[in-house]
């Protein structure tokens, strides 16, 4: 089979992984060196496909032959899809060629399970080793960690990769039992825990190195890095009946216990030869969007999953989770922007983290006025009922939440229809 045919099949087979991030890698440069590639912590999206998703990495499977029969997966062994397998050298060639053209910032390599978990993991490592050692490649590498593989192999993978990820896919035990009989939640968790310990230890060493840089500036004397971009995972949304509260609680648990950098949510897209029990409906994109918003509130704004959803169920599709929380907590509002703690300002719907910082800076210089919110381009129509400034008090502060909600959702029906 020609390389181009393999690429067509194995990129198609890899698109169900939502992550394409190339951020979080340490600063590396090839200036004045042999080899190729750099990273500076910032991700670069080199293109966007018409689904609005960023193309940052060459995201392919090494092979889509697979021993597992996970029902939600297009590559499950019982699926009648075309199969292909790259040699490690072919993946290296594609990565370097695309990288030189500036169409990617690195490689995200995953694979179906062939022969054994250990063998598969060794194959993935082989590609990363060729890139890093033979070709002195300093771009981004994200490797899939196969949870069932020997910890010694995860150890080796982390020395080449910027990021490792083991996918949870389904956040509940029953979900996994029904749809992914060969996967074990415990195994995935213990792989994550192992990687967390190694990442933490390497970060501690790196911090120590940074403090006594003059002596240890020689890279050979510095502590070996381990997946400096951290680990991430993915959960499928809408393949089974799991609700948003369960999904967000398990994300919260993953962030806390394994210090994941990111949890990705992937709206289940219909696959060919759909097994019985899986939805044929269009992927729930708006639900996925609300989960990302809630996830962001948990990671950046100090919200807990239980605050955003205080009972089993899903997030409100009509309004964003921050506005929903504010409408349910009217007693905490309006917030006086000239007096409130920054953490409370961050809870005002329509004010983002950057504006919080700018408002705090500004009130050291002078009192905050309503016009400042206009200048900072905050979402005025949303925040209006929730803030007090030197020259402004909301007239609808007393209005009850359901009527307020009505007035807040009315002006933008067209925007909702887009999703």
């Amino acid at each position: 089979m020609e390389l181009i045919d393999k690429l067509s099949i194995l990129a198609d087979a890899a698109k169900y992984d939502a992550s394409c991030a190339s951020s979080g890698a340490p600063k590396r440069s090839s200036r004045g060196k042999t080899g190729l590639g750099s990273s500076n912590g910032m991700g670069i999206c080199h293109s966007f496909t018409p689904d609005g998703r960023c193309v940052s990495l060459l995201k392919v499977l090494l092979t889509n032959f697979c021993l597992f029969d996970c029902q939600y997966c297009v590559n499950r062994r019982s699926s009648n899809v075309p199969r292909a397998r790259f040699t490690p050298e072919e993946v290296v060639r594609l990565t370097l060629s695309f990288y030189r053209r500036n169409t990617i910032s690195g490689l995200f390599l995953s694979s179906g399970i062939i022969r054994s978990s250990d063998y598969t993991m060794e194959q993935l490592i082989q590609v990363a080793r060729l890139l890093r050692e033979t070709h002195q490649f300093r771009g981004y590498i994200h490797l899939k960690a196969i949870p069932e593989a020997d910890p010694r192999l995860l150890e080796e993978a982390g020395r080449y990769a910027d990021r490792l990820s083991a996918n949870i896919e389904l956040p509940t035990l029953t979900g996994l039992k029904t749809l992914a009989p060969e996967k074990e939640l415990d195994t995935i968790h213990s792989a994550m825990s192992h990687m967390r310990q190694r990442i933490d230890a390497a970060n501690d060493d790196a911090e120590r190195d940074a403090k006594r840089l003059p002596r240890s500036a020689n890279p050979k004397r510095m502590a070996p890095r381990y997946a400096p971009g951290g680990q991430s995972t993915q959960m499928i949304v809408g393949a089974d009946a799991t609700d948003d509260r369960t999904i967000l609680q398990s994300a919260q648990h993953l962030y806390r216990d394994f210090r994941l950098k990111r949890v990705y949510y992937s709206a289940f897209s219909p696959i060919p030869e759909r097994p019985a029990g899986l939805p044929q409906a269009a992927p729930p994109l708006l639900r996925e969007h609300r989960l990302y918003q809630a996830d962001f509130l948990i990671r950046g704004y100090g919200f807990r999953a239980e605050e955003l959803l205080n009972a089993p169920g899903n997030l409100d599709l009509e309004i964003d989770p921050k506005l929903a929380w504010a409408l349910a907590h009217r007693d905490d509002f309006p917030v006086d922007l000239n007096r409130a703690e920054p953490a409370m300002i961050a809870r005002v719907p329509g004010i983002g983290l950057r504006s919080v910082q700018r408002l705090v800076d500004l009130r050291r210089l002078r009192r905050i006025r309503y016009q400042d919110l206009v200048a900072l381009r905050c979402r005025l129509e949303t925040l209006r009922p929730f803030v007090v400034t030197q020259d402004y008090r909301p007239t609808d502060a007393q209005r009850d939440s359901s009527r307020l909600r009505q007035s807040l959702t009315q002006p933008q029906p067209a925007q909702m229809a887009l999703w």
Partner: protein, 306 residues
């Protein structure tokens, strides 16, 4: 005491770039010339020498003006906002920068805050400049040229603001020992493996070579591989035109080798009812279900090439 000698009713100053502006602004500020009294000329205006003489009252001996203190963050903001190419209805850069500096030097710290009338414009411009530098890092495409001395890469790009040097530093880090040139309508830069070589205006030969390479982008096999990847990694079930164009404005599509695929992929996804995530050409290939793991583990594994 500086006001002892009468100021000229107005004076003219010009600058081609930020460093020149900075030198002029420092002198004007020391001389106490208020913003309203300065007529700034931008290098791009093609200034007339008749008006170019900057006449300032000499600083009186013994009255050394206080040093103008400006933090590194403020300098970064001013310097980067100056990279913004103002067009028709935007206010020109030098008077804006000088007004802000004047206010700042007089203790008005809010002048550089994003909520301020002037500060807001500076921050918006800096934001636009950062975004354009990022666009150039992301959407510039190198085309390979095989020569006797080895391979070389050429690129054509039309940045909306003055970000060529930011991009050059980025690509010097990224491309290692490979030689390359980047040509733009406002200047060019080359890298020979060890040093950057800036040219303004861009040499005609560079422009010619880069534009030709960009237009014949579909000449090689690598090009087909990239287009194949782009088609396969797209998920037709998730079509979202608005988000795509928000991140990748249409003005960049022309020089992307995948650019012409976008309308076609969108039309096909809509036509096919956006039902499956799988790319249709992959779906048309012959499929292969695999035997159960329990039987395969003892037999040769199913990882032979399909």
């Amino acid at each position: 005491m500086r006001n002892a000698s009468p100021l000229p009713p107005s004076c003219a100053a010009w600058a081609n770039d930020f460093d020149e502006w900075r030198a002029q602004a420092r002198r004007l500020l020391h001389a106490g010339v208020p913003p309203a009294s300065v007529t700034w000329h931008d290098g791009n205006d093609g200034h007339d020498d008749l008006f170019s003489s900057l006449e300032l009252p000499p600083t009186l001996p013994g009255s050394t003006p206080a040093a103008i203190r400006i933090g590194r963050d403020q300098l970064t903001l001013l310097g980067n906002a100056a990279r913004y190419r103002a067009d028709g209805h935007d206010q020109p850069r030098w008077p804006l920068l000088y007004r802000v500096l004047w206010r700042w030097a007089r203790g008005d710290a809010a002048a550089m805050h994003p909520a301020d009338r002037d500060g807001r414009v500076l921050h918006q411009r800096w934001h636009a400049v950062k975004r354009e530098a990022h666009h150039m890092h992301a959407f510039l495409r190198f085309h390979r040229r095989d020569e006797a001395r080895g391979e070389r890469y050429v690129a054509w790009f039309e940045p909306a603001h003055d970000v060529l040097d930011l991009a050059a530093e980025h690509f010097a880090d990224r491309m290692g020992g490979s030689r390359w040139i980047i040509a733009t309508p406002h200047g060019g830069v080359g890298w020979d493996g060890s040093a950057l070589d800036y040219r303004a205006p861009c040499p005609a030969a560079w422009t010619e070579e880069a534009r030709t390479a960009a237009e014949r982008a579909n000449a090689d096999e690598e090009h087909d591989l990239w287009r194949t990847y782009f088609v396969s990694t797209f998920n037709p079930a998730r079509l979202n035109h608005r988000v795509m164009t928000q991140h990748m404005p249409q003005r960049f599509w022309r020089h992307l080798s995948e650019g012409d695929l976008i309308p076609e992929l969108e039309a096909r996804a809509r036509h096919g009812g956006q039902r499956l995530a799988q790319e249709s050409s992959v779906g048309r290939r012959k499929g292969k279900a695999l035997p159960d793991a329990r039987t395969t583990l003892s037999q040769p594994s199913p990882d032979d090439e399909g």
